[in-house]
């Protein structure tokens, strides 16, 4: 059961030692890789006669952008880059187990961070659109009596986002480990296809999809 835990990779020796967990380090690796790849692929973009590489890149980025644009509409266009970034990050994070690294999303800290940023963004979007008065009034809609529920939602939304992602990735990981324990060869391949690749991408999709929906809801 050692694999289930996220190790502390190293400790910063201030304030009595701050442990840096594996998820943070793997995220650094992902960040570095994504940034490097971006710089490499984005070089020499042409407006006319794009190469095959550029076409694939445009298809991917433009596709994600268009997907969120359809979801979130005109009002929330400024939040699309964040959603695209998160979609790419969660997708890569869920798939990085294939490379032998521990997925950061298997650490509650990472999913909690994602969820907190998302709820902050959702509430900021509402605040930015409606102003302080409208933002506070928004809690009393459609009727004042459900204000407590609306306030409760502030915590439920991120909690559900966080726990869904964490639970799925952890669950998939546990199931895979158990299968590998019983049959170490061949049989895990189709299961790995599902649990490592499909489930990981689906969870990335669900997370950003819900975030986009919440943002749209809050800017309406």
């Amino acid at each position: 059961m050692e694999e289930l835990n996220c190790e502390t990779v190293f400790t910063i020796p201030v304030f009595g030692g701050i442990g840096i967990s594996e998820s943070v380090v793997v995220t650094w690796v992902i960040m570095a890789a994504l940034t490097l790849l971006s710089i490499i692929f984005v070089r020499n973009l042409k407006v006319e006669n794009p190469g095959r590489k550029q076409q694939v890149l445009e298809l991917a980025v433009g596709g994600l952008y268009g997907f969120f644009d359809d979801l979130i509409g005109e009002e929330g266009r400024r939040y699309i880059p964040y959603l695209v970034s998160v979609a790419i990050y969660i997708g890569v994070a869920n798939l990085i187990g294939l490379l032998g690294l521990k997925p950061p999303t298997k650490d509650l800290n990472a999913t909690a961070a994602l969820a907190i940023i998302s709820i902050l963004l959702i509430e900021y979007a509402s605040f930015h659109k409606k102003g302080l008065k409208g933002f506070i009034k928004g809690f009393a809609e459609p009727v004042a009596i459900i204000a407590p529920i609306n306030i409760l939602e502030l915590f439920i939304k991120p909690l559900s986002l966080c726990m869904r992602l964490f639970g799925n990735v952890l669950g998939a990981f546990v199931v895979m480990e158990l299968i590998k324990l019983i049959v170490p060869a061949i049989i895990p391949i189709p299961f790995s296809m599902y649990f490592d690749i499909f489930d990981g991408l689906i969870q990335a999709y669900v997370f950003v999809f819900l975030t986009a929906l919440f943002i749209k809801e809050s800017v309406e």
Binding site: L4, N5, C6, I18, G19, I20, S21, S23, V24, T27, W28, I30, M31, L34, T35, S38, I39, F41, V42, L45, K46, V47, E48, P50, Q54, L57, E58, V61, G62, Y65, P81, Y82, V84, S85, V86, I88, Y89, P104, D107, L108, N109, A110, A112, A113, L114, I116, I117
Partner: protein, 166 residues
């Protein structure tokens, strides 16, 4: 397994940094290029539409001009025809007049000649008749009185002859 500590903050920082990095290095340039292409395509479409409109307008102008010039040509031809007709009529009239004049002159001349010939013939006939009569009667009557007598006779005979022939 379910530990929640300072690493949440680190992960949040990581996320924000990743967002900024990706936005700067990936999303912005790619979307910029795509938007530029979109703008270019729209631009060229509108350009094409503009020039199409211009071409149609020019075509219309040319057609108008063509129709106008053909109308003009017809008018010119018509005018020329009219003028030609007027001139033709005038020339014809002149010619007729001239012909009438020539004929009249010729007639007058012919009449004058005839008159002259007639007079001459009368004179000769009178002479012949006098000579013949002188021979016949053998008498030297007053030539002047006889000539007058025959003149009157011939004039009478000629008149009656003229009246009969007329």
């Amino acid at each position: 397994m379910l530990r929640l500590d300072m690493n949440v903050v680190f992960n949040m920082l990581n996320l924000i940094v990743l967002y900024l990095l990706l936005r700067h290095f990936l999303i912005k340039p790619v979307m910029e290029v795509m938007n530029k292409r979109q703008a270019m395509i729209e631009n060229s479409i509108s350009n094409a539409k503009n020039s199409e409109g211009q071409a149609a307008e020019m075509k219309k102008q040319y057609e108008d001009k063509l129709a106008e010039s053909s109308k003009e040509g017809l008018k010119i031809i018509e005018e020329a025809k009219n003028q030609a007709k007027v001139q033709y009529d005038r020339i014809l009239e002149n010619a007729e007049e001239e012909a009438g004049r020539v004929i009249g002159e010729a007639q007058r001349k012919a009449e004058a000649d005839q008159e002259k010939a007639l007079n001459e013939a009368k004179a000769q006939i009178a002479g012949l008749v006098i000579a013949a009569a002188a021979k016949v009667v053998n008498q030297e009557a007053s030539a002047m009185a006889n000539k007058a007598l025959y003149d009157s006779f011939i004039a009478e005979a000629g008149d009656s002859h003229d009246a009969g022939s007329n």
